[in-house]
Assembly symmetry: C2
Homo-oligomer: 127 residues x 2
Amino acid sequence: MKIQEVSEKYALSADTLRYYERVGLIPPVTRTLSGIRNYSELDIRRVEFIKCMRSAGLPIEVLIDYMELVQQGDATIGARKDILKEQREQLIARMSEMQKTLDILNHKIQVYESVMLEAEKQIKIEE
Amino acid sequence: MKIQEVSEKYALSADTLRYYERVGLIPPVTRTLSGIRNYSELDIRRVEFIKCMRSAGLPIEVLIDYMELVQQGDATIGARKDILKEQREQLIARMSEMQKTLDILNHKIQVYESVMLEAEKQIKIEE
DNA sequence: CTAACACCTGGAGTCGACTCCAAGTCAAGG
DNA sequence: CCTTGACTTGGAGTCGACTCCAGGTGTTAG
């Protein structure tokens, strides 16, 4: 799979895919003889994983550290688990912040809605 | 309430509070005669609201637009509601992305955990 | 009255995460 | 063979959201 296909499939720009590889978020992708990226199944699974983690806001630096450990093999499983657990806690914290905000948004929208209904009634009375 | 107290109470730096005011996220704060910010109840409620919205990732630009409408009075209630509804949709979308990621994190952590348990057993057998 | 410390402003700097560009190479159709 | 369009690299630029700084003013404890 060439870079543009991957880009389209995962809604990540080709520039972003190259950037991810450059900074070590994704290990070097398979290439054709002439040097063009040719994403393998494994490369694509990595892109998918990184996209998912990024979309939840995990910082690039943390993911670089994690992917480095993955490259180093099974001896690093403990360290990897620690990273993921830490990120899970932070993710849960962010989600609960967001839930609070969502509740407030819902409440405000509801208030606006009823204010608008009142205003409409008022107009009807005046008619 | 002086800026430092507000800063401590809401865990926002004094610089950030001034920045929010400068860009219009918060309308000009009450001042003492000598020009020092003296946050009123209302000012503080605004800080609280903005902090909450920002912590859920609502963009500053959107919040500036919203706060501008708030300043313009009741005629803008419809427009405000539209903004909030739009932001609510985006928030829900982000949260569901995060839930997916959380599921994957949980799964990965669980796999690592069982891999580590297996390794331990292996060591026991070898002993 | 002065030292020390919080506050002020305008503007510049930083940081994370891309995003764009120039200048060159490669692949496929006519 | 030549053109056209996708690919390559290294490096610079952008964007959102702060964060810091210099140079000055206000305030309060001793």
